[in-house]
């Protein structure tokens, strides 16, 4: 079986459509991050308490809420979640960060509120987590720096293996993927937890793969055909590697999709980030990274500099 043979699409001719597509999603994400849902940090980043409670019978959220009101806890967020145990419906109870005091207090407050005021059936605390505000802030810094260091690492490696402009183009593409993935979390108002950040960092490495496959081919083609224009070579390289790009991403997407569908509640955010990120990452290696090489070349020519092909060093 062979799906993509002798494909001849003028990718660069469609660059404005592709750019518009990227812009729409990036801008929508940025707007949501700034004005709508902001960045929905999970409990590990913003501090606070989360208690996972499973019930014998499907509970009414109103009854739980009134149980908390009766106990004087007004700011509890109550949310039914897709449970991990089919027979036991689960509810996630979140309390905002209050103080740096003992972490078990909030958990105990949730427990006693339910014990004394909720009588519709039995329940059990499945897991609980409390994070102090300082810990959350440290973690936010660490996550930001880890992502930046990761991008920097990629840039340096690609600079060493190809040329600086390849590194810049690839890093811009991956940054674009990260931005849109975080934007997707903001738009759908899903919490960004530590494991989501782990998924995003993995994406930083993985989205790079498709881009490298394309760049490798561009470099190879540039070395053998010096008469063609750069955009012809880039187009041909994109078409030649299209089957690879789609198959590799598609197969990884298959496993990530099964993780999303069967992996359970705890990994939900993690697999959502990968599902979105892999789709965007595949798209961006075609629509962002490669056109950037051509745009850079055009810009150099426009400035009257030598059109040095960023072809370059042999591996």
């Amino acid at each position: 079986m062979e799906l993509f043979r002798d494909i001849n699409i003028d990718w660069l001719g469609k660059k404005w459509y592709l750019l518009a597509f990227s812009l729409v999603f990036s801008v929508a994400g940025i707007f949501s991050m700034l004005f709508w849902h902001k960045i929905p940090y999970g409990v590990d980043f913003k501090g606070g308490t989360q208690v996972h409670v499973s019930f014998d019978r499907t509970p009414s959220e109103d009854r739980i809420r009134s149980a908390f009101d009766a106990a004087g806890i007004k700011d509890a967020k109550i949310q039914a979640v897709r449970g991990d145990q089919a027979a036991r419906p689960e509810v996630l109870i979140s309390l905002p960060e209050k103080s740096d005091a003992t972490g078990f207090d909030a958990r105990a407050a949730v427990l006693s509120a339910l014990q004394s005021n909720y009588h519709d059936g039995g329940f059990k605390v499945e897991s609980s987590q409390t994070i102090g505000p300082t810990a959350g802030e440290q973690l936010r810094h660490q996550a930001l720096f880890a992502t930046l260091y990761s991008l920097l690492g990629m840039l340096v490696y690609l600079w060493f293996r190809f040329e600086l402009i390849y590194g810049v183009a690839a890093v811009v593409a991956v940054f674009h993927d990260t931005l849109i993935t975080i934007g997707a979390f903001s738009l759908t108002n899903q919490e960004i937890t530590l494991t989501v950040v782990a998924a995003i960092l993995t994406l930083v490495g993985y989205s790079m793969n498709d881009t490298i496959v394309v760049f490798d081919r561009i470099r190879e083609n540039l070395a053998s055909s010096r008469r063609e224009t750069l955009s012809t070579v880039v187009n041909r390289s994109l078409n030649q590697t299209l089957s690879r790009t789609i198959l590799t991403s598609g197969l990884t997407f298959l496993t990530v999709l099964s993780l999303y569908l069967f992996g359970g509640e705890v990994l939900h955010g993690f697999s959502f980030a990968l599902v979105v990120g892999i789709l965007i990452g595949t798209y961006s290696s075609i629509a962002v990274a490669a056109p950037m090489l051509v745009a850079y070349q055009d810009w150099r020519i426009a400035k009257g500099k030598a059109a040095s092909l960023p072809g370059g060093k042999r591996a």
Partner: protein
């Protein structure tokens, strides 16, 4: 060619056998047991899968520094008086700067005597002494402060370890955490009863006995009234219940001497006992010989005055000194559980500084078990989908890729068994991702081979070229993914680190399986084929 092929096949079979062994027995000798037992013996399950408690504690080291300077204030006052410096006032004027002691009111006639005391090694080794008009400022040296903080942290870790051992937790992790932030990481697998953990850790709180100067009173202002309205620099106000045995009392305020008579490390032994007359729970204690002398000296000089037992900055009981106490005593006004906890705490020594929780996570065992089931489902579903697609798309070569994939998984799990790694839920996700990324290398190679075949090359030349060209790309893609996994490992903790480790192992194993193993299989197939016969790809 034939011989070389046999050698390579030998390497592959040996790898398969060795890593399968590692999956079941880790680095140890073969044992008997069910498959499940063997698996969990060699590959440890993380807290999130097994259930358990994860805590990050902040040790308030500044308190220990403050306690040290407080006792130095008292010592210096005595030393100056002994040296004949009259009227000097030693105090800590700025409560926010715990490491600075001020000496004031030193007349010019006494300057040399005061200098003599301050230049003695007991002060100059820990403090930088600066002259100010009519006095001196002593600032604790950075070096001394650092050493002290690190001692406090180590002592806290040791004390908590003893407490946790009393819970009977298997394989607890108790270690310093973060970079110089005086934090402690505690991981207690299998313990998901938060109250039990809470009690054990809470009971490591700070215990001291202080002299009572004023109170109890209903408000802070009233308590201070008994002392003339303002708080003397060597005193402090501490809250506590008016009567510990009666429930539902509002807080009362006590004024206590800042310097403790005896504190945490001075206690040698303790037992929960009952008052023979009232039947009330009590804790009887013994002091170390040095502390016993100090306590005797104090109590014999202060018969009739009050002393307060302060637990975690709260007055728990107050008693008046009836006669000189040497090295043993009784703490009254406790519930039965409190008496038991307090005894345990005094026996193992209390913490040198108080602690607070930065991060707590408890996972129940059923949630963990459900996570494993889901993880395994997702892994099997993902793997079957990928294998099926490879067979469909690449036919004969698909078998090749699937074999490489299975071997990749065996090596990854074997590696985890060998190193005794901990498998976390994100770690399972890492295994699943490895399956997806693992076949990527095969796809790159196969697509290249197809391309070479379309150009009209012979099967063996196509295979040769395909591997040679795809090899460079595979190295580049693996390096970038491993770089991001390495950064993830450096910045992450617990479960996230588990993920980074699995991902990296998986990718390294993949270079071996997708390139070396696949190549060997191709060569074996080409060897059997007649010249010119087509390759199934």
């Amino acid at each position: 060619m034939q011989k070389k092929l046999a050698g390579r096949t030998g390497i592959i079979v040996a790898t398969l056998v060795i890593f399968t062994y590692f999956i079941f027995f880790g680095s140890g000798l073969p044992k008997k047991g069910s498959v499940k037992q063997l698996l969990t013996n060699s590959i440890h399950l993380g807290l999130d899968l097994k259930g358990g408690t994860h805590l990050v504690l902040q040790v308030h080291v500044a308190e220990a520094v403050a306690a040290q300077t407080d006792s130095d204030v008292a010592r210096l006052q005595t030393d100056l008086a002994k040296a004949g410096v009259t009227g000097a006032q030693v105090a800590k004027l700025d409560p926010t700067k715990v490491d600075i002691i001020n000496v004031a009111n030193v007349t010019s006639a006494d300057t040399s005597k005061a200098r003599g005391v301050l230049n003695g090694t007991s002060y100059s080794s820990t403090y930088d002494v600066a002259s100010v008009p009519n006095g001196y400022t002593l600032t604790m040296k950075q070096q001394s402060r650092k050493e002290m903080e690190s001692t406090v942290l180590q002592t806290s870790i040791e004390t908590i370890r003893q407490r946790v051992d009393s819970l009977g937790v298997a394989e607890p992790v108790i270690q310093q955490y973060g970079l110089g932030d005086n934090q402690i990481l505690i991981e207690l697998p299998g313990i998901s009863n938060a109250d039990e953990v809470h009690n054990a850790i809470q009971s490591t709180a700070r215990l001291e006995i202080h002299e009572v100067v004023g109170g109890p009173a209903a408000t802070e202002a009233e308590a201070l009234q008994t002392l003339g309205g303002s708080l003397p620099p060597d005193d402090m106000v501490v809250k506590g219940a008016s009567s510990v045995t009666a429930a539902g009392n509002s807080d009362m305020f006590y004024v206590l001497k800042r310097v403790a008579i005896v504190s945490g490390t001075d206690f040698r032994g303790a037992q929960p006992v009952r008052d023979p007359n009232t039947g009330q729970s009590q804790t009887s204690f013994n002091l170390t010989s040095g502390a016993g002398e100090r306590f005797y000296e104090f109590t014999s000089a202060n018969v009739g005055k009050g002393i307060a037992v302060v637990l975690e900055n709260r007055v728990r009981s107050v008693a008046s000194i009836k006669s000189a106490i040497h090295d043993s005593g009784v703490i009254e006004g406790l519930s039965e559980d409190e008496a038991k906890n307090l005894s345990l705490m005094l026996r193992t020594g209390s913490l040198p500084a108080s602690i607070s929780y930065l991060d707590t996570l408890t996972v129940g065992p059923s949630l963990g078990a459900a996570s494993i089931t889901h993880g395994v489902y997702a892994a099997v579903a993902g793997m079957l989908a990928v294998m099926f697609f490879m067979l469909l798309y690449y036919r004969g070569a698909g078998i090749n890729a699937d074999l490489a994939l299975v071997l990749n998984l065996v090596i990854l799990l074997g590696f985890m068994g060998l190193t005794g790694s901990t498998l976390t839920l994100p770690g399972i996700a890492g295994v699943i991702l490895t399956i997806g990324m693992g076949v990527d290398s095969n796809v790159l190679i196969f697509e290249r081979i197809r391309e070479e075949l379309h150009l009209g090359r012979t099967p063996s030349a196509a295979v040769q070229n395909g591997f040679a060209h795809a090899w460079i790309t595979i190295i580049d893609t693996h390096v970038t993914t491993i770089v991001s996994a390495a950064i993830l490992f450096l910045f992450g903790t617990g479960p996230v680190r588990g993920f980074a480790v699995t991902l990296t192992f998986g990718l390294l194993a993949n270079i071996f399986t997708a390139v070396f193993v696949s190549r060997t299989i191709f060569d074996a197939i080409l060897n059997r084929k007649q010249r010119g016969e087509a390759l199934s790809i």
